[in-house]
């Protein structure tokens, strides 16, 4: 009853605050749209490479769609890179290739590195192929000679056996004739098998993708994590600031001068702002799936559920953090401290590859569990059983924070 009075109040207040509503519902869509276009075409990156006195055969193999070649007349790599704004400079002295990277953009550096490496491998293969061709010709002539020899030999054996069979048949010795017949068959069989010489196998690759397809983009891989992040961020901010307002305007203390339980206030907040978090989640998820045609492998209900749990954790965390602040400005200061680091552990950087102490930090971040579950559902079609542990941990975060909030309100009223 009292909880519902708080819920109704939260709803009325939110619905009248049009700007906050817009921030909560439209801002995630705006940022997702921006990200979609940013990360959509990730294959058109082109690095510029200056070359000086490099063998044409080498230049030919390096020249790919990701690297453009410019020829220059100077061997001073540093100067040329600065002068012509190049990403790399390649020079040659006899058999020694020297590459200098500008490295102002690591992506371009790795593009050049990759095409240089694959180019050199290609070159090596080419020389290998010519060598093999020569060897093959030699082998083939030897084989022909051998074939002639075996053919002659077989012929001799066959005639020998045939005469022996004829003799045996003439003698009427059926057993010996049959035995010889078998030998004859064997002798002729060897000739036919030796003519099948080994042909060189050439490999072709055919790609299959378990998750997504060949045109999966960066955006598709990370959008689930960002979905979780936005819900987390906005709910954290709005719930934290609104409880803070309630404290600074004195309404919280006024509320606590009524027989309301501290838990009823917290529950009212959870339900009230939780409701808006649900709307935000549904809007953002549906928008991403429908407009950007994100390939959703798993159940959309699991996406909603995970996001809702994340929102509730953000809600309780926001209220909890607001206890330690005295103004909105101080609340904002907690964003780089509490919210931003979470995005690093949401799957943008693989957590498995992190140092062990960083992994430990990842495991105290709610977004780590939420984003992992979301990514698993969206890209791999994980079911409730697969992400159950993650969801339980989120519930755990929520319960602990709620308890802390209820105890924390003792500051304003002793009972």
């Amino acid at each position: 009853m009292r909880t519902m009075a708080i819920v109704r109040r939260v709803f009325k207040q939110m619905l009248r605050d049009k700007r906050t509503l817009a921030l909560m519902f439209l801002a995630p869509l705006l940022i997702m749209t921006l990200m979609y276009f940013l990360f959509q075409n990730n294959t058109t990156q082109v690095a510029s490479l200056g070359v000086h006195h490099v063998d044409q055969s080498v230049v030919n193999v390096i020249d790919t769609k990701n690297v453009t070649i410019h020829h220059y007349d100077s061997s001073q790599a540093r100067k040329m890179i600065k002068q012509h704004d190049l990403d790399g400079y390649l020079t040659q002295k006899n058999g020694q290739l020297t590459i200098t990277y500008s490295n102002s953009n690591p992506t371009n550096t790795s593009l050049i590195k990759a095409s240089l490496q694959s180019g050199l491998v290609k070159l090596k293969m080419k020389t290998l192929v010519t060598v093999t061709k020569k060897q093959r010709a030699a082998l083939e002539s030897q084989q022909a000679a051998l074939k002639k020899l075996t053919a002659a030999q077989t012929q001799a054996t066959v005639t020998k056996l045939k005469t022996a069979i004829a003799q045996a048949q003439a003698r009427g010795d059926q057993a010996t004739a049959e035995k010889l017949q078998k030998q004859l068959k064997q002798a002729t069989a060897t000739t036919s098998s030796s003519t099948q010489s080994a042909k060189a196998t050439s490999y072709t690759t055919k790609s299959h993708y378990i998750y997504g397809s060949s045109d999966s983009t960066f955006f598709e891989n990370f959008s689930p994590a960002f979905l979780g992040f936005f819900v987390f961020f906005f709910v954290f901010l709005i719930s934290g600031v609104s409880l803070l307002n309630e404290r600074t305007t004195g309404t919280l203390s006024r509320l606590l001068a009524t027989p309301i339980r501290r838990s009823e206030i917290i529950m009212g907040y959870l339900i009230g702002y939780g409701g808006f978090a649900i709307i935000q989640t549904v809007l953002t998820v549906v928008f991403t799936i429908v407009v950007f045609k994100i390939h959703l492998v798993g159940s959309i209900w699991l996406v909603f559920l995970t996001n809702l749990l994340l929102a509730l954790v953000a809600l309780t965390l926001g209220i909890f953090i607001s206890t330690f602040t005295n103004s909105e400005f101080q609340m904002i200061q907690f964003i780089p401290l509490i919210v931003v680091p979470q995005i690093f552990f949401a799957g943008l950087v693989p957590v498995d590859g992190m140092a062990s102490w960083l992994q430990a930090i990842a495991h105290i971040m709610p977004l780590y569990y939420g984003a992992n579950a979301l990514t698993a559902v969206v890209t791999k079609g994980a079911g409730l059983g697969d992400i159950g542990v993650n969801l339980l941990i989120l519930v755990g975060f929520m319960v602990v924070l709620t308890m802390l909030n209820i105890v924390g309100m003792k500051r304003y009223r002793k009972v």
């Binding site: 009075a5 203390s253 001068a257 009524t258 027989p259 339980r261 009972v415």
Partner: protein, 247 residues
């Protein structure tokens, strides 16, 4: 003694090194307007919050309606008006009243009637559906008073109820407070407006957390041999300072 709404005994409280309340005794029987007067920072609001059970006291006991405070259930029987207007500005006055009515467990069928009654008392009936953000300071004060009255409580605790309210309406509110008193309700009112102090049935002077004097206005004036409560206040204060100087 069921007729005493508030019994505070030897209440002491300090914040850090500062003694805010020093062994205060206070008894508020039914049907009385009890005035707490004293300068800002004297400890009036802390005493009120201790009586409400929102502030923990260092020593001493507070009983409200024969129940030891803090106690959550008793709060429903106390109408409280805070010193600062704690109102939801994006909501209308009616919505504010409805919210607090629900929190105070006013039955649904009675709620609309109580809102009309409380709003009428503070002359806000015509502006009930206006948002509080558009209210003047005096209107907010009146709405806070209306909220304190919403559950028709036996005990009203009013922290500076008439600040920013014009003289005519102040007159009106005091008349209404006296009417409420006649129905057996009690009020604990803080003020530093001395002519209001004269209207109280009983007064307590607080300064530096100490109850300097108490009694009916007439008795106090007689005790200090002066004509007004203001002079009582000034004289008592000087005597306190003189004593502190002797120590």
């Amino acid at each position: 003694m069921a007729t005493d709404y508030v019994i505070a005994k030897q209440v002491s409280k300090h914040f850090g090194h500062q003694q805010v309340l020093n062994q205060i005794d206070l008894t508020l029987p039914a049907g009385m307007i009890y005035g707490l007067i004293g300068p800002s920072g004297a400890g009036k609001t802390t005493l009120i919050k201790s009586i409400l059970g929102m502030e923990a006291v260092d020593s001493g006991t507070v009983k409200v309606m024969d129940t030891v405070m803090p106690n959550r259930a008793v709060m429903a029987q106390v109408g409280y008006m805070a010193q600062s207007d704690a109102l939801y500005e994006t909501l209308t006055a009616r919505e504010n009243l409805t919210l607090f009515g629900q929190l105070m467990s006013v039955p649904k069928i009675k709620l609309a009637q109580m809102i009309d009654y409380a709003a009428g008392l503070v002359d806000l009936t015509s502006q009930l559906d206006k948002r509080v953000s558009g209210y003047s300071g005096g209107m907010k004060r009146r709405l806070s008073l209306a909220i304190a009255l919403i559950q028709d409580p036996q005990l009203l605790i009013l922290d500076e109820p008439t600040v920013g309210i014009d003289p005519e309406l102040r007159q009106q509110i005091w008349t209404e407070l006296n009417n409420l008193k006649d129905t057996g309700k009690s009020m604990l009112v803080t003020t530093h407006v001395m002519d209001e102090a004269e209207r109280c049935d009983y007064l307590m002077l607080i300064r530096h957390g100490i109850a300097l004097a108490e009694g009916t206005p007439a008795a106090l004036k007689q005790q200090y041999a002066v004509d007004t409560i203001e002079q009582v206040f000034l004289k008592a204060g000087r005597m306190q300072d003189a004593n502190d100087g002797n120590r």
